[in-house]
Amino acid sequence: VTPIRIPALSETTAALCFLMVLLIPCATAGLALINAGLGRFRNAAHSMLSALCVIAVAALVYFAVGAAWQGGAGQPAFALHAAGKDWNWIGAGNYFLRGLELGGWSSLAALFGLMSVGLAAIIPLGSGADRWRLGACCASTVLLAGITYPLFAHWAWGGGWLAQLGFIDSGGAGVIQVAGGLTALSITWILGPRRGKFNPDGVPSALPGHNAVFVLLGCFFAWLGWLGLNGAGAILFTGVEASRTVLIAVNTALAAGSAALSVAAITRTRFGKTDASLCANGWVAGLVAVSAGCAVVRPAAAVIIGLIAGALVVYSVEWLELHLAVDDPGGSVSVHAVAGLWGLLATGFLAALTPGRWLVQLVGIATLLGFILPLTYGLNWLLNRVSPQRVAVEGERQGLDLYELGAGAYPDFMTHNEDFWQR
């Protein structure tokens, strides 16, 4: 089938979109810095190298098969006919981007995909920090970039059945963030917690990140990258005009700021001091949450989305660690999955769209939780059966920098034994 029209882009819009797509690697760099800073110092080089390798693997796999399966509006796709309807479920494009028309919507969408699949792939690195082998990260990324991401991207952006229903996800809150966040959750389950994280009574110990400056600097990069991500995504997949990118930028900034302030106020009230790493997580959660509806909500709604996203992150991080024994050093599950789901839901209620849109957004959320999570968990579980994803005990004790790379990020630092002892 060839459903839904191909969006027509004027030369100016295409040029603006191209420039915005080029900003997306800033978001990836920001997340890489945040993940490295929230991990321990003896895994810092490993964390940054894993980010680079994962981005490379994601881009190659997406180029080979992902882009073909994602497809695009107006491009060939496979459909199932059931209950009197066509269910467009996967793209039928050319592998290795063969026959790509340069200069049009298709080439910009392919470039956007190459950039954004790396962003999705880097998200699980935060949850698997300090214990995920480099080879296993890359193998898991093959599954994400080759199967999970293109499948949901086709449904939401490529003229698939969710897009036909009217699902809105302009900047990829569902396609990129929730898909990455649910993979992060699967990885934490499969890897288990870091040694020493939980004592025999199940009480978690604080294992603080090693560099708050990396984490906070990462937020600035992420902001810049998200301006491009949301703007380009909205032009390509929601069909908005170039003039609307100003509103998108305003909404993106407002949501990030209000989320960070929300976290600052909550942590100050509850703990007596403002928590820097949680504020950074709140900032990114605001960016994630507003991605879904950045092109269709008013600035006041973006502030509400950000405020609630920030609050959700504080309570979600605490709940996952204290009550559900999920060891997520980078807060990836809370920041990307929880905030992304909230953003998708909020778009249904707060966007200036036709009534009843909330139900379509709920169908998208149900698809992510009911299909994408079991799929990504199952694939990573199988991978773990073939080749264990967790590093050996010795590697965790020594640090992944020395164990897997042979050299640390900070050669002048000394490792203290008590850093590893169980408390």
Binding site: A82, A83, K85, L165, W189, G192, P193, F198, N199, P200, D201, G202, L324, A325, V326, G356, L359, L362, V363, I365, A366, T367, L369, G370, F371, L373, P374
Partner: protein, 51 residues
Amino acid sequence: MLGGWIIVLAAIALLPAGPSQASFVLVALGVEILGLTLVFRAHLIPSRERK
């Protein structure tokens, strides 16, 4: 969780848009959340194993 998603698909395929379709989608989401809760519980580490 997968069962909940299938109920969602069935609701949008078989039911006309309206309150009944919305109710089915909401109930299906409830089924998914129940499944998610069970998966979280299944991954809690037993205290014996921790020791």
